[in-house]
C-alpha cells in the first residue's frame, strides 16, 4: 500500500498543483484510490493523515471540502483539529483554464514591493507594466484632487506557484487587485477574492469559462470574501451566494469607485516628495511612456505630477533635469510649442549658468531649444541656435561633445535646412548616420526617416525610395519609426502620382492611437493621392483631422496639432468642393496665421495663404498643404 499510495501522489499532480490546488489533487487521489478495493479500504485512514501533513506544510483547506469528504464517510469530524486560522487566505487569486484538460485552477499570486515591475513569466500579464498602467488608470479615473499624486512611484514583483504558463487578459484585474491587496497589507475584504472581469478598452467584460473558473475558486477556498464581476451576468451572479461581498463593475471607473469606497487606493495617493527610489521607478515609467510607447499625453500628465510632488534632498539634481528635458520633449511631441519653448529656454539658461555644466550639456540644451522652434515654424531661429555656435565648432573639433549630442545637433539643424531649402542637410544626416552605425544602430531609423522626408520634400524621389526600402527591410522596425516610414511611403507614392495604402495603417483607423499624429500624417498623404474618389479623400482628411485632435488638448494653449487639424479641413473642403467648410476652415486658419511674437506661421505661409481664395479650390489647398513642413 505504501508504494502504491505514494506513487499515486505524483501521478495525480505535480508539486505546483499540490501547493495551489490541493482540493482538486485530493479529489483526484481519492478517485484513484477508489478504483481498487485495497486502496479504497484505506481511504478513511489515509485521508486524515494526508490532510494533517498538508496543514503542517502550511497548505490550508476550505471547510466546505472537509465537510464534503466527511459526508462521503472519508473523514471524521474529530480527524482534524483546526481553527479559523486554518481557513485558506490566499488574497486575490487568478483563475485559469487548462485547455488540454478543460480544468480550471486557481493561481495564488505572491506580490512584493520592488524597484521595477516584474511578473512571473508563467503569468499572462505581459508586459509587466500592464499592471502599472491599470493601476494608474483606476487612480486617475477617480478624478480627485489626490490624482495629483504619483502612483507610478510604486512597483511590484508578481510571482505565482502553480507553475503553468497561461495566456490572455483574464488575469489582469486579479493581478491589479493583488497589487492593491499587498499595498494595503492584505485587508479582510481581499483575503479570499477573485475577479471575473477582464479589460476591453475602458470597459470590463466577463472573462471566458467563467463558470468553471468560479467553480475552481469555490472548490479550493470555499466561501470568498469578494467577487468582482460584470453586472447583468447570470453565469457569475450564480456564485454571489458564495461570497461575502460582490462588486459589479463594467468599467475601470466603476472599479475605481468601488476601490475608493473601501479606501483601498489611499495607499497610492501620496503627494509626498519623491525619494531616490520613487524617482527611479517613476522615471522608468516616464521613459517607457515617452520613448518606447509614445503615449505622450499620459507621459506629460505623469511628468507634471512628478514635478508637482517634487523631490527630496537625496534625489540627484541630474535626474530632475532629465525629467524636465523629457517634459520639454513631450510638449514638443504633443504640439504645445509655447510650453516646449519656455522649458527648453529655461534649460538653456540653467545649463549656461551652471558651474557643473559642460559643452555637451550646453549643446544638448541648445539642440532641444532649437527643436522647440520647429512647431512654431521658426526655422531660421533653429539655424541661428545651432549653425554657428555648434556646427562650426564641430567642423573644427568633432570631439568637443559626445557623438549622441552631435547627432542631435546635426539632425535638428538638417531638418531646419530641409524646410528652408538650404544646402547641406543631406550631408548632416549622413554624418549622423555614420555615428549611429557605429554607436547606436537601433536609432538609425529615425535619422533615415528624417533623410527620406528631406529627399521627398526636395523632390529627390529615387533617393527617397532607396532610403525607404532600406528602412522597410529592417526586421525590427519599432512602432513609431514604422508609422512614420509608412507615412513617407504614402507620400512617396503621392509624389509619384500613384495611389497606395498600408494595411497596417488603414487597420488602425477608428482606434485610439498611442500617438495620433503619425497616423494623421499618413491619412493626409493618402487623401491627397490621385485617383481617390471624393468620398474616400474626404473621409481620409476627416480621419487625419480626428487623429491630430486626439492629443491636441482643449485649445487653451497654442498647439500645432490644432493648426494641422484645420489644414485637414481646408483639404477636405478643397477636395470636396465644400464652400461652407472652406469658409470655416479659412477662418480657423486665419486665426492660426495671425502674426504673433515667437511664432513663424504667418510669415511662413504668407504666399500660399494669399493664394487661398474665397471659393474651394483643390489646387490651392494642395499647395497650402505642400507647404506644411511636417508633410
Amino acid at each position: 500500500m505504501t508504494t502504491s499510495n505514494s506513487a499515486s501522489l505524483a501521478a495525480v499532480a505535480d508539486e505546483g498543483l499540490w501547493h495551489t490546488n490541493p482540493v482538486w489533487c485530493i479529489d483526484r487521489l481519492l478517485e484513484a484510490w477508489g478504483r481498487k478495493d485495497r486502496s479504497w479500504v484505506d481511504q478513511p485512514e489515509l485521508l486524515p493523515a494526508l490532510l494533517r501533513s498538508l496543514l503542517a506544510q502550511g497548505i490550508r483547506l476550505p471547510t466546505e471540502a472537509l465537510q464534503r469528504w466527511e459526508s462521503a464517510g472519508l473523514l471524521d469530524s474529530t480527524d482534524l483539529d483546526g481553527d479559523s486560522a486554518d481557513v485558506p487566505s490566499p488574497g486575490v487569486v487568478g483563475l485559469v483554464i487548462d485547455h488540454s484538460s478543460e480544468t480550471a485552477w486557481v493561481v495564488p499570486l505572491d506580490i512584493e514591493p520592488s524597484r521595477t515591475w516584474s511578473v512571473d513569466s508563467n503569468l499572462p500579464i505581459r508586459p509587466p507594466t500592464v499592471l502599472q498602467d491599470m493601476l494608474i488608470r483606476v487612480v486617475l479615473a477617480l478624478d480627485m484632487p489626490q490624482a495629483g499624486a504619483v502612483p507610478e512611484r510604486f512597483a511590484f514583483d508578481v510571482r505565482e506557484r502553480l507553475g503553468r504558463r497561461s495566456y490572455g487578459p483574464s488575469m489582469h484585474i486579479a493581478g491589479l487587485l493583488a497589487v492593491i491587496d499587498r499595498q494595503n497589507n492584505n485587508p479582510t475584504l481581499l483575503r479570499r477574492a477573485c475577479a471575473a472581469v477582464q479589460p476591453d478598452g475602458d470597459r470590463l467584460v466577463p472573462v471566458g469559462s467563467l463558470d468553471k473558473k468560479l467553480g475552481a475558486f469555490w472548490r479550493e477556498y470555499g466561501r470568498g470574501s469578494l467577487l468582482v464581476r460584470p453586472p447583468d451576468c447570470p453565469e457569475a451572479s450564480a456564485y454571489d451566494q458564495h461570497f461575502d461581498e460582490i462588486w459589479q463593475v463594467g468599467s475601470f471607473q466603476e472599479l475605481a469607485r468601488a476601490l475608493e469606497r473601501c479606501e483601498l487606493l489611499q495607499g497610492f495617493l501620496s503627494g509626498a516628495p519623491l525619494d531616490a527610489a520613487d524617482v527611479e521607478t517613476a522615471h522608468s515609467c516616464l521613459r517607457r511612456l515617452t520613448f518606447a510607447e509614445h503615449r505622450y499625453g499620459e507621459a506629460l500628465n505623469l511628468a507634471g505630477r512628478i514635478q508637482r510632488c517634487g523631490y527630496d534632498s537625496e534625489v540627484p539634481a541630474r535626474t530632475g533635469r532629465e525629467i524636465r528635458r523629457t517634459t520639454a520633449d513631450l510638449y514638443r511631441h504633443l504640439g504645445y510649442y509655447g510650453e516646449a519653448e519656455t522649458l527648453a529656454q529655461q534649460e538653456v539658461r540653467e545649463t549656461k549658468a551652471s558651474k557643473a555644466s559642460s559643452y555637451d550639456d550646453q549643446a544638448q540644451a541648445d539642440a532641444i531649444y532649437a527643436a522647440s522652434y520647429y512647431d512654431p515654424h521658426c526655422f531660421t531661429r533653429m539655424v541661428e541656435l545651432l549653425e554657428q555656435p555648434w556646427l562650426a565648432q564641430f567642423n573644427e573639433n568633432e570631439l568637443l561633445v559626445s557623438p549622441e549630442t552631435r547627432v542631435m545637433v546635426f539632425n535638428t539643424l538638417a531638418r531646419a535646412y530641409v524646410i528652408l531649402g538650404q544646402r547641406g542637410w543631406a550631408e548632416l544626416f549622413r554624418r549622423s548616420e555614420e555615428i549611429l552605425r557605429e554607436r547606436e544602430p537601433t536609432d538609425l531609423p529615425r535619422t533615415w526617416n528624417y533623410l527620406a522626408h528631406g529627399l521627398l520634400r526636395q523632390g529627390q524621389l529615387e533617393e527617397a525610395d532607396s532610403v525607404l526600402v532600406q528602412l522597410e527591410s529592417l526586421p525590427a522596425l519599432t512602432g513609431f519609426s514604422r508609422w512614420i516610414c509608412r507615412f513617407l511611403r504614402a507620400e512617396y507614392h503621392r509624389s509619384r502620382g500613384r495611389k497606395w495604402h498600408s494595411e497596417e495603417m488603414e487597420a488602425a483607423s477608428g482606434v485610439k492611437k498611442r500617438a495620433g499624429h503619425p497616423f494623421g500624417f499618413y491619412f493626409q498623404a493618402t487623401a491627397r493621392q490621385p485617383d481617390r474618389s471624393q468620398v474616400d479623400a474626404g473621409e481620409r482628411f476627416r480621419l487625419a483631422q480626428d487623429l491630430f485632435l486626439q492629443d491636441a488638448g482643449s485649445g487653451d494653449h497654442p498647439n500645432i496639432l490644432h493648426f494641422l487639424a484645420d489644414c485637414m479641413r481646408i483639404g477636405a473642403a478643397g477636395w470636396g468642393n465644400d464652400a461652407v467648410l472652406w469658409s470655416d476652415a479659412r477662418q480657423a486658419l486665419a486665426r492660426h496665421l495671425e502674426p504673433r511674437s515667437g511664432c513663424g506661421l504667418a510669415e511662413y505661409y504668407a504666399e500660399v495663404w494669399k493664394a487661398l481664395g474665397d471659393r474651394p479650390d483643390r489646387d490651392t489647398a494642395d499647395a497650402f498643404l505642400r507647404r506644411v513642413p511636417f508633410f
Binding site: 505504501t2 502504491s4 505524483a10 481498487k36 485495497r38 485512514e45 464517510g73
Partner: protein
C-alpha cells in the same frame, strides 16, 4: 487587568490536566480489584481533567462502586470537600453532589491513576451522608461560592461528565470476550489488503512537498495494526486499529454476506456498523469506525454463537 471568566475556566482546566498527568506518573503500582480511595480517569467527552474517587462498595451489591469526581478547580461550594493537602499532597476537591454508582468492572486497573488515604475517604462518606439527608454544614464562604458564575460553569461541566459516565456505565458490556492488548496486534498487512508492487515512489520525484505527504501516508500505514478473524470459513474479518479507533473490513466471496458488527459510540450506546462494498466487490468496509472509549473498544460479531473481541490500548 481582569482575565475573562471563560479564559480563567480554561486555564483552570489546563492546570488540572497538568496536575493529573503528574499524579498519574507517580501513581503507585497496585494490582487487585478497585478499593475505596482509588482514583480513576475516564473518557467523558468533556474538556476537563477529572479524577473519579472510589468512595465505597454498595452495601447490598458489592459489584457496584460509588465514585465521586475530584479536581483542582479552585472554587469550593457547599456540596464539595477539599481534601486535606497534607494527606493528599495536592489540591483535590471532591464534588460530592455529583457522585454516581458504576459496576466494579468499569474501573479497570489500567485506568487507575492513584489513591488517597482512607481517612480522607471517611470525610467524603460523611459529607455524602449529610447531603443524602438534606443537611448542610456549608460555611458562608462556600454559600457565596455557590452563586459564583464561574463555579456554576465548572459544576455544570462536572455534571455533564457524570451523566456521560453514568450512561456508559449503565450500558457497559458485561462480557469483554477475547481481550487483545494493542501491542499484540500485528503490523503485518493482511494478504487481502496488500497491493501489488507499483512504479517509482513519489518521494523520488525530488519534490519536498510530495516527499512529506508520502511520508505522512507511510507513517499512517505503518501505525495501523491488524487482527484477523476467520468467520466460519466463509470469509475473514480484519480489524484495522489506528490512533482514532478500529474499523472492520470484510474479505470474502461476494456471495457471502458480511457478518453484523456491533460496537459502541463514545457515549456508550451500541451501534451496528453498516457495510460498504468496494469498487471491485472483493472487500467491504464497515462504517463507522468504532472509537476508543477509556482506552478500549468492544466489538461483538453476530456469528453463531456471537463472538466478542475487546481491544485495549
Amino acid at each position: 487587568m481582569t482575565i475573562p471568566r471563560i479564559e480563567r475556566l480554561h486555564q483552570a482546566i489546563a492546570e488540572t490536566a497538568r496536575d493529573l498527568e503528574r499524579v498519574a506518573a507517580h501513581a503507585p503500582e497496585r494490582t487487585g480489584p478497585p478499593a475505596a480511595g482509588d482514583l480513576f480517569v475516564f473518557d467523558t467527552g468533556e474538556d476537563a481533567a477529572i479524577e473519579w474517587l472510589v468512595i465505597r462498595e454498595h452495601a447490598d451489591d458489592p459489584s457496584l462502586l460509588l465514585l465521586a469526581p475530584g479536581d483542582d478547580f479552585p472554587l469550593v461550594g457547599p456540596p464539595d470537600v477539599e481534601l486535606p493537602r497534607d494527606l493528599v499532597g495536592r489540591l483535590l476537591t471532591v464534588r460530592c453532589g455529583e457522585a454516581l454508582w458504576v459496576p466494579v468492572g468499569f474501573c479497570q486497573q489500567r485506568l487507575r491513576t492513584g489513591s488517597v488515604p482512607l481517612e480522607t475517604v471517611r470525610l467524603l462518606r460523611r459529607k455524602i451522608a449529610k447531603l443524602a439527608r438534606g443537611r448542610s454544614d456549608a460555611s458562608e464562604e462556600h454559600r457565596q461560592t455557590d452563586a459564583d458564575p464561574e463555579y456554576e460553569d465548572w459544576l455544570g461541566l462536572v455534571a455533564r461528565a457524570r451523566e456521560r459516565l453514568q450512561q456508559r456505565a449503565d450500558q457497559a458490556p458485561i462480557n469483554l470476550g477475547l481481550v487483545i492488548p494493542f501491542e499484540r496486534l500485528t503490523s503485518r498487512l493482511p494478504a487481502e489488503l496488500a497491493g501489488e508492487p507499483q512504479y517509482a515512489l513519489a518521494a523520488e520525484s525530488g519534490s519536498p512537498l510530495l516527499m512529506a505527504l508520502s511520508e505522512a501516508i507511510a507513517e499512517a500505514e505503518a501505525a495501523t495494526r491488524y487482527h484477523e478473524i476467520d468467520i466460519n470459513g466463509s470469509g475473514k474479518l480484519i480489524l484495522q486499529a489506528t490512533e482514532s479507533g478500529v474499523r472492520a473490513v470484510w474479505a470474502g466471496p461476494a456471495v457471502a454476506a458480511a457478518p453484523k458488527i456491533i460496537g459502541r459510540t463514545e457515549s456508550g450506546e451500541t451501534l451496528e456498523a453498516s457495510w460498504q462494498i468496494g469498487p471491485e466487490g472483493k472487500l467491504q468496509r464497515a462504517e463507522p469506525k468504532f472509537p476508543w472509549v477509556d482506552g478500549q473498544l468492544v466489538i461483538t460479531i453476530a456469528t453463531e454463537p456471537p463472538k466478542t473481541v475487546t481491544i485495549q490500548r
